[in-house]
């Protein structure tokens, strides 16, 4: 709870920094705020679970752990907005504050105990995203992205809300545990169709937010049009919060109706894996490839949901989200640095990067290997734990399919590596990318974290006992 209060208050304070003449203070201020929130959040780790607002929000280890991921991701991402600082972006304070506010939404999504809180959390997060998607005002693609995201997002929200209403109608409550009790209550048996339709509509709404197929159509276009810095935020924070919320919903509220939704979720999983991975193969822009890759990772995370394997799944989803977020931040950070200075985002813009910027090439390589799930990186154990949870429940066919899909993914994750290390730069006179010392340090930290997760996964594989 402290983290929500801190983020809201400091977010407003941060807005006032915008009145200062200099932009230079904004980046450090935002980082300090985030570091503070990250630390304060961890204090709750050993405290007992606490409920707020008539049990609408519960801060327990689950919420602390996922809050940790989203805050850490933002903290590690923010240094790469430095170009906005240098360019004297006038609305910088507002952007940072929007990110801080959106984190409040993310935290509500991971700690809700009441469907209304889930809805409010999703909305807080989404509205901020609609704004930042269009933050590059003079760019047509950015405008298109914002409009597309807003229109589609509003539909999805409406559908989600409708679903919540139907679930309420069928069970008579918004409270997660009571919904579960309501499902098994024989008195509600006649309302079962309503419940199922409500659940389906809710799944559609949330699937849209985490860009799972077939509700993923907006993803590549919106990712491409949105300024890279905010795309990175979208594909990590929004996804992590979405999955943590989704898992909680399935485990705490709908567990009793498992027989109904497991096949549904499994169908979404298969479709998402297929579309994400096959779609990524065809891309020529790294940014669009990462958009499809983010769809495919939603698929791998869904496997953790299908498994509904209690702590095993929760731990797997936590580890996967952490490894995925760190690798994705690293990938987008490198992409942003390259595309800012070379004004393009295709594979060829990475040609010869290993020669001019060995550090950038190395970090990108680690990120790609992690996303591809190759050992020595966190991504390998992320897949390992999610697949393990599913195999434990006997979903061998599903896991084999996911394994085949991750073989496909190796194809497109290797392409940036090939471009960086094995292709000569198209233009020999091309200047190295400028990277500040601080950004280099953060990049090294991201690579180290990825390798740490890959070498000593035991540190994070057991957060929920």
């Amino acid at each position: 709870m402290t983290s929500i209060i801190l983020l809201s208050v400091l977010g407003i304070v941060n807005l006032f920094f915008g009145f200062l003449k200099s932009n230079k203070i904004l980046l450090p201020a935002a980082m300090v705020i985030l570091a503070l929130v990250f630390g304060v959040n961890l204090i709750d780790w050993n405290a007992d679970a606490q409920s707020y607002f008539n049990n609408m929000l519960t801060i327990d280890r689950y919420s602390v752990a996922f809050t940790g991921i989203v805050v850490l991701t933002t903290l590690l991402l923010i240094p790469f907005s430095e170009k906005y600082v240098r360019d004297g972006q006038e609305n910088l304070a507002e952007y940072y504050s929007l990110l801080l506010f959106s984190l409040v939404g993310a935290i509500m999504m991971v700690s809700y105990d009441n469907l209304l809180m889930l809805f409010v959390g999703i909305e807080i997060l989404s509205v901020s995203m609609y704004v930042v998607a269009g933050s590059d005002k003079r760019n047509v693609r950015s405008n298109e992205a914002a409009l597309k995201y807003f229109l589609m997002g509003s539909f999805a929200t409406g559908i989600l809300l409708f679903g919540i209403a139907l679930v309420y109608g069928a069970t008579g409550t918004f409270q997660l545990t009571q919904i579960n009790a309501g499902i098994v209550n024989p008195a509600n048996a006649s309302l079962q169709p309503m419940l199922y339709i409500g659940m389906l509509l809710m799944f559609i709404g949330i699937s849209f937010k985490v860009s799972a197929a077939p509700f993923h159509y907006w993803t590549p276009d919106v990712y491409e049009g949105t300024p890279t810095f905010f795309t990175a935020f979208m594909s990590t924070v929004v996804k992590t919060a979405g999955f943590a919320g989704f898992f909680k919903l399935l485990m705490a509220a709908f567990f009793a109706a498992k027989g109904f939704w497991v096949p549904t979720i499994m169908a979404i999983t298969i479709l998402t894996l297929l579309i994400g991975n096959v779609g990524a193969v065809a891309q020529t822009s790294i940014k669009r490839m990462l958009a499809y890759s983010s769809i495919s990772h939603a698929g791998y995370l869904f496997i953790g949901l299908v498994a509904v394997n209690g702590k095993l799944s929760a731990n797997a989803i936590f580890f996967y989200s952490l490894a995925y977020s760190i690798a994705t931040v690293a990938a987008f950070a490198v992409l942003k640095l390259v595309s800012d200075q070379r004004q393009r985002e295709d594979y060829a813009s990475f040609n010869g990067l290993a020669k001019t910027n060995p550090l950038l090439a190395f970090v990108m390589t680690v990120a790609m290997l992690s996303l591809a799930g190759i050992p020595l990186t966190g991504g390998f154990f992320g897949k390992f734990f999610t697949f393990g949870a599913a195999i434990d429940r006997g979903y061998i066919g599903l896991v084999v399919f996911a394994v085949v899909m991750s073989m496909v993914s190796i194809y497109y994750y290797l392409r940036p590596i090939i471009a960086m290390y094995m292709q000569p730069a198209e233009d020999e006179t091309v200047a190295p990318i400028q990277v500040s010392g601080f950004q280099s340090a953060v990049l090294v930290l991201l690579a180290l974290l990825t390798v740490l997760l890959g070498v000593l996964p035991g540190l994070f594989s057991e957060v929920f006992k």
């Binding site: 290993a354 290997l369 190759i374 050992p375 020595l376 390998f380 154990f381 390992f384 697949f387 393990g388 195999i391 434990d392 061998i396 896991v399 084999v400 394994v403 991750s406 073989m407 190796i410 194809y411 290797l414 090939i418 290390y421 094995m422 292709q423 000593l456 996964p457 035991g458 594989s461 057991e462």
Partner: protein, 494 residues
């Protein structure tokens, strides 16, 4: 603890190399590799007292380390060596310094990264040979792949990108099947109220139905078959060997190929014995096809490097056949042939490289009459070549004799067909020698220089081993004997 040192020292050295530039990097890399070899020899000598034949207590836990890794899941950092591991660690640590030394004549751009990758690779290889936990094994199996991908992809010749890409896809797809099988086995250890564990002992103790073993066999086997490579999983091999820079080719053929055979011995046969007996015959036939197929294609090759690549394909087929004969002789033959092949093929690729560097060509038709100018080179080449042809008293003979005896014991007809390999090897290798070293000089070869000191320093240890293994095979066979006996007992277990 010695095992842990052997495992982590190369990667630590690789990190330090980052601070060295150019010549300093290669000297440092060589120093680290030599130190590593010294430690491995020390380990071998001090363990050899436990490795006497008949001593079944010499289990795979020599110098063992067993620490929790992903503790809650029952996955441990369990490493240790038995005779089999020890011999392969010795082979790896012996070849890596020679491979580094062999690359001295080349001026590779970004040398510190190049040598760091070789050392990094060494850690991966040793990790494969000493892991006693399935997931640790898989982990190192993949770790060994990353550096070789970069070595071949960054420093290779023109077609390197497409070729290494194919290589990477092939091997990783194979390994993913193995991972799926391991995860399944891991959950099986937890069935019936047991504690889940990925330890090798837990895998060995599993009782699996014949039906399960039938498909598990293929999942695991494909990973090893691609790495070796066994026909028809070999299509990546000739191209990758040809396009890679010589040190990478040496690593691939000298050591990495052995990962597949080692994996079969350690992680396939004893874990799914019923699956092996179901499918062994088919694999045997594939292996024998590979022997003949590789040899016949080798005869037609015009490019020295490609010829050696196909000869390697043929020889690995024989090793696989020996392994799947499941006889004591066949297994022992495979072990000793792993060492012999490692020595010979690394030497042959090195000589091919020497000739290419001096004449600018690898085309057999463009070469000829080298003997006149290069007596030392000719002698070294001939010795290594005869070792590969399996002339008695050389290393190849011991291995091929045991292997063929094992295959013959399994099935005389297969043994007879496999035996043709010796004749075919003589055909393509002696033809190559004749056309490259003898006959009239060509415009490419008239000004060639003989071996230099550093080149001799690479070849002399190899030649010493050609004769050592050939004359005193027991030095090595007795180390592997207890391990091989143990594997056979494990396979025969009901």
């Amino acid at each position: 603890m010695l095992t842990a040192f052997l495992l982590f020292f190369p990667v630590a050295a690789a990190l330090l190399l980052h601070f060295a530039k150019g010549n300093a990097a290669r000297v440092m890399a060589l120093g680290a590799a030599l130190l590593e070899f010294a430690v491995a020899v020390f380990a071998a000598v001090s363990a050899s007292t436990n490795m006497a034949p008949g001593n079944t207590q010499a289990a795979y836990s020599q110098f063992g380390v067993n620490l929790p890794w992903i503790a809650s899941a029952g996955i441990n950092f369990h490493i240790g060596m038995d005779g089999l591991s020890l011999l392969l660690v010795l082979l790896t640590t012996f070849l890596v310094p020679l491979i580094i030394l062999a690359s001295f004549r080349h001026d590779y751009p970004n040398a510190s990264a190049f040598y760091a990758l070789i050392l990094f690779m060494q850690t991966g290889l040793i990790g494969v040979f000493v892991s006693l936990d399935a997931f640790l094994f898989y982990f190192f199996w993949e770790v060994a792949l990353i550096p070789i991908y970069f070595l071949a992809g960054v420093w290779g010749s023109e077609r390197r990108i497409a070729v290494t890409f194919k290589f990477f896809l092939y091997t990783i797809i194979g390994s993913l099947f193995m991972l799926a099988a391991f995860v399944y086995l891991y959950f099986q250890t937890g069935a019936n109220g047991g504690v889940r564990s990925s330890d090798i002992a837990a895998f060995y103790n599993l009782t699996l139905s014949a039906g399960e073993q039938a498909w598990l066999f293929w999942l695991i086997f494909i990973a090893f078959a691609v790495k070796m490579p066994i026909f028809p999983f070999h299509t990546w091999q000739p191209d990758t060997y040809t396009e890679s820079p010589v040190p990478a080719t040496m690593l691939l053929s000298g050591i990495m190929l052995k990962m597949g055979i080692y994996g079969t011995l350690r992680w396939l046969l004893p874990v799914v014995p019923l699956g092996t007996s179901q499918w062994g015959k088919l694999v045997m036939i594939l292996a024998v096809i590979g022997i003949i197929y590789g040899a016949i294609i080798a005869i037609r090759q015009q490019d020295m490097k490609r010829l050696i690549a196909y000869s390697s394909l043929s020889h690995v087929g024989l090793m696989a056949a020996g392994v799947f004969s499941l006889t004591f002789m066949g297994l022992q033959g495979a072990v000793i042939q792993m060492l012999a092949h490692g020595v010979n093929v690394v030497g042959m690729f090195f000589i091919g490289d020497i000739i290419q560097r001096r004449t600018g060509t690898r085309q057999i038709a463009e070469l000829g009459g080298l003997t006149k100018h290069t007596p030392l080179l000719s002698v070294c080449f001939l010795v290594l070549l005869l070792g590969t042809v399996a002339l008695p008293l050389t290393n190849g003979f011991v291995g091929e004799f045991l292997l063929l005896a094992g295959v013959y014991q399994y099935n005389p007809w297969l043994g007879a067909v496999a035996g043709v390999t010796i004749i075919l090897a003589a055909v393509y290798l002696l033809r190559m020698f004749q056309r490259v070293m003898l006959g009239p000089e060509t415009s490419f070869t008239s000004t060639i220089q003989d071996l230099t000191g550093s080149e001799l320093a690479v070849l002399v240890p190899l030649i010493v081993l050609v004769f050592w293994i050939g004359l005193f095979p027991n030095t090595f066979l007795r180390i592997s004997e207890p391990a091989v006996l143990q594997i056979i007992t494990q396979i025969a277990k009901p």
